[in-house]
């Protein structure tokens, strides 16, 4: 298994199925862990950083299939920028991890539902991604991986504060539960602000497609917990599954019904403009594609378009991003050449007008 094998296909989380997949794109859980007896990364010398990387990499690779099937490790200190960017676009590493310096890496399972970042903000950041709303399944898997790694690695833990993390905002369980939602109708009706307010009241963070500091392009919103201490992991997950997410889904369903029954022309105009743009344009930016795909997805979910598959939408979404596009073309392209290649790819996938 190599990194370049990934560039031409969509990962697990974009399969487009799973419970409530018409609104819930993916469920993600990550755990922050540090190895006892080693400084946290901000206090590591270059040599200490290398030691932590060697030790954790060895533990992960030794566990092998117990962590994920056909696991492979990417040494990010050596990886070219385009490969690091590719991993960000696939949600396998964070932006800061791609841009950082010094020894660091990521272990990825073949189907990309498991990834483990080494030497990000903490020594280890375990991540499990699933399609649709599958938080319990994700927790079961990540909990097992954590247990497996714990057999060979001694994690920094203290009875009062739990798992110790570099940033005290992650201390305790070290858990971050994130659900990626597609909320185009709430955006169109302007009621999205209500979701933000409700989320804030529930001490939840709302972020864009690529996490911290990114905008909500394509009407994708990531909702995640901020409190990691004083709660049991299962309770945080149950809260998401039974309270937080159903509430937001209800809002979005309501907005979709309103659009469909009272503002059909507005809805159809958005949907068919998007189809027209994607099937006709000769130059396309990433933002244009994301925004048009959002309306296309909405139109498909509401039965306004019948000849396009969700799988196709997800493939376009992923493969038209800058690093993927350049990997596919096997060369560095910028500006109009890149926008042209993107438009060509979209027309090839959707068929020309």
């Amino acid at each position: 298994m190599k990194l370049s094998d990934l560039a031409t296909r969509a990962g697990e989380w974009l399969r487009g199925d799973g419970p409530l997949s018409e609104i819930v794109i993916s469920s993600r859980i990550r755990l922050a862990r540090n190895v006892a007896g080693h400084n946290f990364l901000s206090r590591c010398t270059r040599a200490q950083r290398n030691t932590v990387e060697h030790k954790t990499r060895a533990a992960i690779l030794a566990a092998g299939d117990l962590v994920a099937k056909n696991l492979f490790y990417v040494d990010l200190a050596d990886a070219p920028e385009i490969d690091r960017q590719l991993l960000v676009e696939r949600h396998l590493i964070s932006k800061p991890h791609a841009q950082a310096e010094g020894s660091r890496g990521v272990a990825v399972g073949e189907d990309e539902s498991v990834s483990i970042m080494v030497n990000e903000e903490d020594h280890l950041r375990l991540q499990v991604l699933r399609s649709g709303l599958q938080l319990e399944e994700a927790w079961e898997l990540i909990n097992k991986i954590d247990d497996t790694l714990e057999r060979t690695l001694d994690f920094a833990f203290n009875p009062r504060f739990g798992y110790l993390t570099a940033c005290p905002t992650n201390v305790g369980t070290g858990i971050r539960v994130s659900v990626m939602l597609h909320l185009p109708a709430l955006k169109l009706t302007g009621d999205i602000e209500r979701v933000f307010r409700a989320a804030k009241d529930m001490r939840l963070a709302v972020r864009g497609l690529y996490g911290e500091g990114t905008e909500a392009t394509g009407d994708f919103y990531q909702i995640s917990n901020q409190t990691t201490l004083g709660k049991v992991e299962e309770d945080i997950i149950q809260d998401f599954k039974h309270v937080v997410i159903p509430k937001i889904i209800d809002y979005e369903h309501h907005a979709r019904r309103t659009l469909l029954s009272e503002r059909t022309a507005v809805l159809d105009d958005k949907v068919f403009r998007a189809v027209g743009l994607l099937r006709s344009a000769r130059l396309l930016t990433s933002e244009e594609v994301l925004s048009a795909l959002s309306h296309l997805r909405l139109g498909m979910n509401l039965g306004r378009i019948k000849d396009i598959q969700v799988r196709t939408i997800n493939e376009i979404l992923l493969l038209t991003q800058p690093a993927h596009l350049q990997k596919m073309l096997a060369k560095k392209v910028e500006g109009d050449a890149r926008r042209s290649a993107r438009a060509d790819f979209v027309r090839q996938k959707l068929g020309s007008a």
Binding site: N39, S42, R43, N158, P159, R160, A166, C167
Partner: protein, 168 residues
């Protein structure tokens, strides 16, 4: 507003005098105000109050210089942590426990203790670790409730239970 006396500097001292039932207002600059008998000392005197306030705020935000020693393991100082927001090693949680506790509590909806997953290694054999921590948390909550209800007899009993559990 200009000083009523010299009509030159900015008026920063505002006096209200009541003489024979009449209210007289004066707006003066610091220099002119200090010339008035009985006022000068008060004007100069406000400096220590500012300092007092600053010291108070510093002490309560954990910025006071003298109190916390650096971590002997990683060399991290409290001031450095306040700048970067990142701790240097596991031992920092012990060294800065007193200073960290209120910050952590604020960041986690008032929580003070971990009640979630516990590593299976290094835990006492035969005691289900999670249940033990959850129970401790429940005891602490009960204690807080008893104190709030001023039921000190009950509070003392719970306190003893916590002590006992801590020794285990």
């Amino acid at each position: 507003m200009k000083c009523e006396n010299c009509n030159n500097s900015q008026a920063t001292v505002h006096l209200t005098e009541i003489k024979a039932g009449k209210k007289i207002e004066k707006h003066l600059c610091e220099a002119c105000a200090s010339q008035i008998e009985g006022i000068g000392a008060a004007v100069k005197g406000h400096q220590p109050i500012n300092e007092l306030l600053t010291n108070f705020v510093m002490a309560h935000s954990g910025l006071a210089k003298e109190q916390v020693a650096n971590c002997e393991d990683c060399g991290m100082s409290w001031a450095e942590f306040r700048q970067s927001g990142l701790l240097g090693c596991a031992n920092d949680y012990k060294v800065f426990e007193r200073e960290l506790a209120p910050l952590i509590q604020r960041a986690h909806e008032g929580a003070t203790h971990h009640i979630g997953k516990v590593p299976s290694r290094g835990q006492p054999v035969g005691v289900p670790a999670r249940r033990r921590t959850v129970d401790m948390d429940r005891l602490r909550k009960d204690l807080a409730r008893a104190v709030e209800a001023e039921d000190y007899e009950r509070a003392a009993k719970i306190r003893d239970q916590i002590r006992l559990a801590d020794q285990e």
